[in-house]
Amino acid sequence: MSVLTYGYAVWSPIVWLVVLVVLGLIVLYVRSRGQKRYKKGTAQTDVFISGVQVPPAEQRHVPAHNIYWGFFEALQGFYDTMMRPHTGIINDYILWLVAIVTLTVVVLVMTG
């Protein structure tokens, strides 16, 4: 067994393997002591959320958008402003490009 010792800690894969096996046995023991009174296929195995009807599993996911709810809510004003010029029409974007290039050229020419 190879033991790497460096000052104040010890690393040994065998020790970790033994620890994992022991933990696994403990988990299996706790699991075996669990309730066996449930009738499968009935409401007794449904998710419990304070008696509220729980939607099917495929409709229960939390989209990433929900996680950023507060972020979007706080920046709602900024997004509203930014989304208005973003029409998705290529002609509008070209118009923006031409306008900004023109403005840049004018500013460069004026300032020398």
Binding site: R37, Y38, K39, T42, A43, Q44, F48, S50, G51, V52
Partner: protein, 143 residues
């Protein structure tokens, strides 16, 4: 009481269906050091899926009907339902009110009634003991 079949701690789920909280306060009193039923292994749990006994208070408001039925169905067998207080037993002063669908036994089967407005902690404890005895019978019957 000699429990042979149901020989484990009794876990109780408390369901308030629209109670004024009078009964609920007495239920909490049962858990305080003065009565302390936890020393007998009787404790409140946070999910009906862990419970042996449903301890129901309140006259069952219209909006609670589905929840009461669902919570009853989610409780594993064998289970016992206790109606605590006059409201849960027969509606009390809210009897036949337009906003009620109760009392509780109109929605789910009730095994033990504990009358009172609110019932004293001693009465609730006696009800729990009767529920325990009923569970013993149910387990022996293989429910």
């Amino acid at each position: 009481m000699n429990l042979k079949a149901f020989n484990r701690a009794l876990w109780v789920y408390h369901l308030n269906t629209g109670s004024c909280n009078g009964c609920d306060i007495e239920i909490l009193a049962v858990l305080t050091p003065r009565y302390d039923v936890e020393r007998f292994g009787i404790r409140l749990v946070g999910s009906p899926r862990h419970a042996d006994v449903l301890l129901v208070t309140g006259p069952v408001g219209r909006s609670m009907e589905d929840s009461v039925r669902r919570i009853y169905e989610q409780t594993p067998d064998p289970k016992v339902v206790m109606a605590v207080g006059n409201c849960g037993a027969e509606g009390d002063v809210f009897h036949e009110a337009y906003s009620l669908v109760g009392p509780i036994d109109q929605i789910i089967p009730v095994d033990v009634y504990v009358p009172g407005c609110p019932p004293r902690p001693e009465a609730i404890i006696e009800g729990v003991v009767k529920a325990w005895a009923k569970l013993e019978t149910l387990v022996k019957q293989g429910v």
